[in-house]
Every structure is written in C-alpha cells, then in structure tokens.
C-alpha cells in the first residue's frame, strides 16, 4: 500500500494523545489507590496496568495500520470468537457463587465480555453495511436484535448486568442510528420483556437471589448506599484544587471499596479537586465529540457505524461511571474506560480507538 500523503494529513494525533493522557492518569491513580493496600499483590497493580497499556498501545498501532475495510471483512469472525470465548467462561472460570467473568490463558486471565463489546460493534456495522438497501426493514432489525441479544444473555449469566445492559444500549443506539422506527423497536422490546418471567421460572433459587442483588444493589450486604456515601465524601473533600498527589486520605484509607476499579474517578477527584475532575471530564468530552464527528465524516456506512458504535460504547461507560461516582446515577458495575484497573478493558478500548483513528484518516480514500 503506497503511503498516501492524505493519510498523514488526516492522522488524528489529538485523539490518541487524549487516550494516552487518560490512561496515564489512570495508572497514576491506581498507584495512589493501592499504595496502602495490605497485600503486596495489590500494591503492584499499577505496574500490571502499565504493562496492559503497552499491550493496548501496540494493538492500537496495529488497528491504525490495517485498513478498517480489511478489518471489517473479519467482523463476523471476531464476533464468533467473542461468543465462543463467552461460552468458555462457565467451563474455565472460577466456580462459585460469585461472578465468573475471566478465562485463564496460561498465566494471564482475560475477560471475554470486554472483547464482546468491540466485536459486537464491528459485527453490527458490517451487518448493516451488507444490508445497505433494506437497512430499516423489520427483518434486518430482528437479525440485528439477535446479534445483540446473544452476547448480552451470555454476559447476564456470568452475571454481569452492567456490561449486558451496555451491550444492549450499543446495539439499540446503532439501530436507531440507521433509522429504525420506534414502532418496530417498541414491539421487540415488549416481546423481550414478556419472555423474562419464563426465563425466571427456569432459574434456581440462588440464581434468582444473585439476579435480585444485581437489579437492586441495596440487597448487597456491603450496601451500595455505603459506596456512594463514601464516594461523595471523597470527591467533595477534594474541593477546588484537590488535596494533592498521594494525599487522598479518603480513597487511600480503605474507606472506599473498589477504589482502583469502579470508583477510580473518586481517587482522582479527591487528589486533584474540581479542576482535575474537570480536566478528565473535558478529555472524555473531547473523545466523544471527536468520535461522533468521525462517524459523521466517514466515507462509507461501515466506517460511520463503527465509529459511532465505538464512541457510544466508550462515552456511555465514561458518563455512566462518573455519574455513579458522583451519586447521580444508580450503582451498576461499569468501569471507567482507560482509567479503571483492568487489562482486558484497557487493551480493547485502546484497540477501538485505533479503529476510530483509522476511519478518520481514510475518509478521503475511496
């Protein structure tokens, strides 16, 4: 492939820089959050996260290099692999009452649900592109709904309600984008709700209990209310300028559970105050707006849908997570992309951003 001058002109440095900045802040915050942990294993989490960042950045480069139309040709394959790995989770994951979300591959464990997020976006974009002429036909929509439901149901079973809802939201927003009428979408939704009681009767008592806890986190004995109260104290006490690096007494002294994963934003807000939080929010806002613009400017339907899906996925997670930490949205276990501790999430988000950049720089190529 000859290197076109326009490829470089349209190269989206700012987006990559934004992502790297956020990831860097994440590693720093994980370091602060876990520096006082009682387990030595936990104290090294930031190093692991840094390693994952390097892996993710490498994949980002790969995702930028290969023409996204080529990547699109393998969309169904990726989707199939993601579904396959989701199916493996109950076989190889940890057996117990807790959730099973990881698969072990030798020395490392990965979370197939993270892969499924990106795979679903790719697959739906490809699916609609293949049916360009009858994109809003009810049959097309039923197919798209099925493609979304399969991974969502597999993820619910783990159980991971947050991710499952996210998959549904991404699927539905892509359907809305291609122009599905509400009068097609509503009956499908109602039909699905009607199925729920039937599924319910098949569940065993303890499975029901699990689901109830996920639907209503207040049933969780550790109490979501406690999480939010502590998280608000941590964020609020940061005040305008923050308490400074490593001086986050709230989030460091174990008052805040899950401080390095779902509540990482609180660690950051306590240390860097309103100005720091604003900066993080601005970075995410830029990422969302740029992503949506790329979707609008894309040359073809596939690129446009892919860019839209990726942006929705990252943006929705970011806004939901921050909303949860600030106590304006319910507690569902959704990580903050690029900042929360988690290798699979980091790697897949960076890869997705690579795809986004790819769409942007090839917008004049066809």
């Amino acid at each position: 492939m000859p290197l076109d001058r326009r490829l470089i002109q349209n190269f989206e440095w700012r987006l990559i820089l934004t992502a790297f900045l956020l990831a860097g802040l994440g590693i720093l915050s994980i370091y602060t959050a876990t520096a006082t942990a009682s387990l030595p294993l936990k104290q090294h989490l930031y190093l692991r996260q840094a390693t994952w960042f390097v892996v993710g950045a490498t994949l980002l480069v790969v995702a930028v290099t290969i023409n996204y139309r080529t990547t699109g040709r393998f969309a169904y394959l990726f989707y199939g692999l993601a579904i396959f790995s989701l199916l493996l989770v109950p076989l190889f994951g940890r057996v117990g009452l807790g959730a099973q979300r990881w698969i072990k591959l030798g020395f490392l464990a990965f979370q197939p649900s993270e892969v499924a997020k990106v795979a679903l976006v790719l697959c739906l974009a490809r699916y609609f592109e293949d049916r360009k002429e009858r994109v809003t036909a009810p049959r097309t929509m039923v197919g798209a709904a099925l493609l979304t439901l399969v991974p969502a149901l597999l993820v619910v079973r783990q159980p991971d309600l947050g991710t499952a809802l996210l998959l549904l939201a991404v699927g539905v927003s892509l359907m809305l984008l291609v122009g599905v009428r509400l009068r097609v979408l509503v009956p499908v939704g109602v039909g699905l709700l009607a199925l729920a009681p039937i599924v319910w009767t098949f569940l065993k008592a303890y499975q029901k209990r699990r689901l109830l806890v996920f639907l209503n986190p207040n049933l969780d004995p550790l109490g979501a209310g406690y999480h939010v109260a502590q998280s608000k104290i941590a964020v609020g006490s940061g005040e305008l300028l923050g308490k400074g690096f490593m001086a986050a007494s709230q989030s460091q002294l174990n008052f805040l559970p899950e401080n390095h994963t779902d509540f990482i934003f609180a660690v950051l807000a306590e240390q860097w105050g309103f100005l720091g939080s604003l900066a993080v929010l601005a970075l995410f806002y830029f990422l969302i707006i740029r992503g949506l613009e790329i979707s609008m400017e894309a040359k073809d339907l596939f690129g446009s849908l892919m860019a839209f899906g990726i942006t929705t996925m990252i943006g929705l997670q970011a806004l939901l997570n921050i909303g949860m930490v600030l106590g304006v949205m319910p507690v569902v276990g959704i990580p903050l992309p690029l900042l929360s501790y988690g290798g699979s999430s980091m790697v897949m988000t960076l890869t997705a951003i690579g795809l986004l950049v790819n769409v942007r720089m090839r917008r004049f190529m066809y």
Partner: protein, 630 residues
C-alpha cells in the same frame, strides 16, 4: 466539517449523530454542575466529614452452612467465638490495661504490653488480642468494661464439631485463607483472614457453604469509638449440605476401628453413595477453626503415622487376595477356566528357579474356583493367572476402575497401579517375566489400589456389574430448606463381564464368610447373609532400625450384605495388623450389624411381624435456626 453532506452514505445519519452530540453535551454539563456542587459549594462540608470520617464499615461474618448426614443428623455445626480486640489509641493507661487484661485473659502481662506497643503504628485499627476466649472470660470483660477503655469484643461464628473428629478427612476443615492462596486469581474476592474450607467437602463445596457476609455501617467519633449503628445488613448464612453419610454406620465404623490405623469405607452398591468414611489416625478439625498454633501444626504434620493423610482416597496399598476376584473374572471371561475346572492347591509352586508359597504351609488338594476363592488358595491362582495371561487380567482390572481416579472430587485421588508389561519396561526398564504374572495374581508385587477403588470395585461385583462414581453430597439447600442443587448416582461404566461370571464370584465370596473352610468366617452375622473376601498385603520389609510397627502385614476385608440383594458394601484395611481375617473382618462385621440391626419384636403366633419402623424423612426434621453473630 463542511464536507459531510456530499460524502456520507446513509441519509439522516448526520442529523441523528448531531442530536446525540447535543445529548452528550447536556450530560457532561450536568456532571460538571454536580462536580461544582460537590467540590466547590459543599466541599467544605465534605472535607469536614472526611477529616473525622465517621462512617465505617464493619463486616459481619456469615455462618457457614451446616453439614447433615443422610437422615438429618448434624455432623458439623457453628458456634459463636468471642474475640477480644483493643484499639491502641483509646487505651488511656497502657500499664494498667495490660495488667488487667493479662489477668483476665490468662496471658503474660508483658505479652499484652508488647502487643499494645506494636499496635501503636496503626493506632486506630482494632488489634486482635485473643481469639476464642471462653464465655466466662467474656462476661468478666463486659463487667469490667469501664476499667478497660479501648477494649472491645466481637462475636463471630466458627465451626463446631459436635461429633469430634468423626469423618474428619471426608468433611475437611475450615481455616483462614493463607497468603499463598490470596495471591491466586481465584481468591480475588477473599479478604485476608476470611474462613475458607481447606479440605474435603468443606473445600469442594466452599462456595455453597460460605454464605454471604453482612456488614454494619457504624458511626464513630473522632477517637474511633462506636457512637451509633447506622445500618445493618444481615449476613446470609451459607447453604446446608445433606450428605450421603449414614451416622449409624459411621459411628459403628469409628468405634470398631478406633484403636487401629488404616481406612474404612462403606458404600451403597446400588448408587455409589458413601455411607461411612474413616481414616485413622484422625485429627481434630476443631484445631483449625481459630488460627492453628505452631505446636499443634508441628505435631500433626510431623506425626510418622500421617494423621492428615486421607487414607481411603490417597492411601495406596497392594490389594492382596482381593485381586484374585479380578483374576477369576478375567479367567472365566477369557475361557482359560470354567467354574468346574479343577486344579491342585499345593503348598508351594515352582516356576523356573523361583518358588512361590501358598499362605498356608500345607497343600489343600484339588479344588474348583468356588473353593479356591473361599479358601483363598494362592497356588491355585498362580496357575490360573499363567493360563489366562497378564493382558486379560489388566483389562479386567481397568474395567473395574483400578488404576484410575474415580472422580470423587475431594482432593488428590490416588490412582493405584495396574502394572502392565509395557509399563514395567518403561519405568523399571526390565521385560515382564512370568513370575510377575504369578505375583500379580495374588495382588502383590507392583499392584496398588486405594480403599475407595476396592469398595467401588466390590460394589460393582455386588450390584451385577455397574461401576458407580462414588459421591458424598446428596443435596444442597438454603437454610429455609429450598433446594439449591440435588445430586444423583452417576454410572462410570457397565463392566464388560457376563452375569454368570459375576454369579460365580459372588458365590465364592459368600463361601468366604459362610463356608466351614472360608477365610472370612469372623464376619458372619446370624441374621443376615454376608459375602466377602479377605486379603493380607505384604509390606515391603524396611531397613533395619525402622520401628517394628512397619514390619507387620496389612489386613484387608471387603464385604457386602445382604448377599443376595446387596445394600451395603464395606472395605476395611488395618495397617500392620496382620491377617485380614483376624484384624479387619470383625470391623466390617460391626458396620454391617449397625446397618442391619437385629430387631426383636414379640409376634403372636400365626401373625406376620410388623413392618420395621420407617426412618424419618429428611425434610420432616426441624431445621435449626442459623447462628447469627451480633
């Protein structure tokens, strides 16, 4: 941003994406306003709250599920444990407190003082002073609370073992997760100090048994003292397990085997359910509920009789004459002999330069297979094995589950060993000699089997050729009695052997106990027909200087009853106890007597005796309330 209209392929997309930009912007604005509210407008208030953070979360341990026997008898339960904590910051008079505490807790005063000093670096964290103090001490501490500022008590449920070390190896024990475990991915949800089932059923079913811990949100003052209980989330007790164990058989087995070393397993041959499980010497699982002391651990781990080894599962012994049943089956199936083939049973048998003995010093004359099994004639089986050849014998042994793990799932399983010519060449580097076949025929030489394998094999003989997977948990249920999981029998395979062959072998086993010349007459019970097989497995002579106990042979006895419709199969191996008929058969007999107690009822002439009383169904028994710590 001006080129969209000509470039974008689908109509309406720009409009809709544009709308989403507006929505996203609105959400971000809301979040910014919220941040402004929290951090700038209310920041002062939150900072004040943070400075003396008043809300704390205190975990409340969930009681573990209770383990019941098959009829609802409690095997493992919970009891409250009282732990004494001290918050160093709150101790106003360290010297006096150390003295008073030392007196009350029976600890050296210096030790208490030392702990108080060591805790200075984490002044606000409650420090565990002593776990599991007796109830009287707890009352005494409560009474003197005012003299002891900073000292607090916590109650949490720990395992209690009303039946002592009963079936300890099968049930397992519970102790805190250790550091090595915490470093592993599958323990990511565990906190240091959390109890975890470390062996047996407690470990395998830990996820079911452990329950979900509750928590208390407490408000504390600036000194960390409790001022108010804000909210309490009740812990959810773990699921109860109903095991296949039959307490009556288990008790009988423990009593009859008490002074011996070795293993006993009873199984229901119709399903593979484990009815009793003894591994001697046993250990007290209660030692582990609090942190086990270094001395206790040293005694357990260093004991030359290996009390921690789970013998029925992990002990691998030469099966001795029990293996003759396999040889008989292989010989009949391959056509090497028929039930009426007559062979001599001399005192010795010469093969090349080697002489192999019978276990009796005199010859027993010409006999058929039936008598050879009953009298356990070695020389008869030497000849049969040579006629049959090693391959069919190996194949038959494998059919009956020897040489493989049976999948009980409670820890490392001994696989035993069925030696083959190929194996010998590979591992020892020597070819297979006819002498190897001869010695294998009587279950000596290189053959090894675990007691669990032997009882599973004999169960298959007893039930007509079905090899069941052994299992111990019948049902998992919530403490309200709702079913969570129900387990049933699992067939490993139908053994490829004809009913006629099995009949001949069973007749032989019947004669072992009931014939005047049988080797297992000590297991005879007047009111129930027992079939069985004795075995004595030679222990390889150890070097001089070893203790004497190591020199005697192991005695085996395997049996089932009633002989014509078997309901219970039993294996007993008494280590270094000499002949199986003397050491092990009476133990098996005691267990079978417990399984089939002799009920005497006065029956008027001409009437049928009343039906025996039914055992109460499990569900009808009252369920104990779970112990909840407060």
């Amino acid at each position: 941003m001006t080129t969209w209209h000509t470039l974008n392929p689908a109509p309406g997309i720009q409009r809709r994406v544009g709308r989403l930009i507006l929505v996203a912007t609105a959400v971000v604005v809301v979040l910014v306003l919220r941040l402004w509210h929290l951090q700038v407008l209310e920041g002062n208030r939150y900072l004040a709250m943070a400075q003396h953070n008043r809300l704390r979360l205190r975990p409340v341990d969930a009681p573990r599920g209770i383990l019941f026997d098959r009829y609802g008898q409690i095997l493992v339960d919970n009891r409250p444990s009282f732990d004494v904590y001290v918050v160093p910051e709150d101790v106003t008079d360290p010297g006096g407190t150390a003295e008073r505490l030392g007196q009350l807790l029976g600890m050296p005063v210096e030790q208490v003082a030392e702990k108080l000093v060591a805790g200075r670096s984490r002044r606000f964290t409650p420090l565990l002073l002593k776990a599991g103090v007796p109830e009287q001490t707890m009352i005494a501490l409560e009474e003197r609370k005012l003299d002891l500022p900073g000292v607090s008590l916590r109650v949490h449920p720990v395992r209690s073992y009303p039946a002592g070390s009963l079936a300890a190896h099968l049930l397992g024990y519970v102790s805190e997760v250790n550091r090595a475990q915490l470093a592993r991915e599958e323990f990511r949800d565990f906190a240091p100090g959390e109890p975890f089932g470390q062996a047996g059923v407690e470990r395998r079913f830990d996820a079911f048994i452990r329950g979900i811990d509750g928590g208390e949100q407490i408000e504390v003052d600036a000194l960390g003292r409790l001022t108010r209980l804000v909210e309490r989330m009740e812990p959810q007790s773990g699921f109860n397990l109903i095991l296949t164990i039959d307490r009556r058989l288990q008790d009988a087995a423990e009593r009859a085997f008490a002074s011996k070393s070795g293993a006993v397993v009873a199984m229901d041959p119709r399903t593979g359910e484990i009815l009793a499980w003894v591994s001697n010497p046993a250990y007290d699982p209660g030692l582990f509920t609090q942190r086990i002391s270094r001395e206790d651990w040293g005694i357990l781990a260093g004991d030359p009789r290996h009390p921690l080894q789970n013998r029925p599962l992990q002990g691998q012994y030469p099966p001795g004459s029990i293996f003759k049943l396999i040889v008989a089956a292989a010989a009949l199936e391959s056509g090497a002999i028929t039930p009426s083939t007559l062979l001599d049973c001399p005192a010795t048998f010469a093969l090349g330069n080697f002489t192999f003995d019978n276990w009796k010093r005199e010859g027993r004359g010409v006999m058929d297979l039936h008598r050879a099994i009953a009298e356990s004639c070695n020389t008869y089986f030497y000849q049969v094995a040579l006629k049959t050849g090693i391959e069919p014998i190996v194949e038959m042994a494998r059919e009956f589950g020897l040489g493989e793990g049976l999948g009980l799932g409670l820890g490392d399983e001994g696989r035993g060993l069925v030696p083959t010519p190929g194996w010998k060449q590979q591992v020892i580097g020597e070819p297979w000699y006819p002498g190897n076949t001869v010695i294998t025929a009587i279950g000596q030489g290189m053959v090894l089997a675990t007691p669990l394998q032997v009882v599973t094999m004999v169960s298959a003989i007893a039930n007509g050729g079905t090899l069941y997977k052994p299992w111990v948990v019948k049902r998992v249920e919530s403490w309200q009695g709702e079913e969570v999981e129900e387990y049933g029998p699992e067939i490993l395979r139908r053994v490829r052997v004809s009913p006629e062959t099995l009949r001949v072998i069973r007749d032989g086993m019947w004669a072992v106990v009931n014939d005047g010349q049988g080797t297992g007459q000590r297991a005879r019970i007047p009111w129930i027909e027992v079939a069985g097989k004795t075995a004595t497995s030679q222990v390889v002579r150890k070097q001089a200087g070893q203790e004497k106990r190591g020199l005697k042979d192991h005695g085996w006895f395997v049996a089932y009853a009633p002989a014509h419709s078997p309901e219970v199969a039993v294996v007993v191996i008494a280590e270094h106890a000499g002949f199986g008929s003397a050491a092990a058969a009476p133990v098996a007999r005691a267990i079978l007597e417990a399984a089939f107690p002799l009920v005497t009822v006065d029956v008027p002439r001409g009437q049928r005796p009343p039906a025996p009383p039914l055992r109460p169904p499990v569900a009808a028994l009252p369920r104990p309330e779970p112990v909840i710590a407060d």
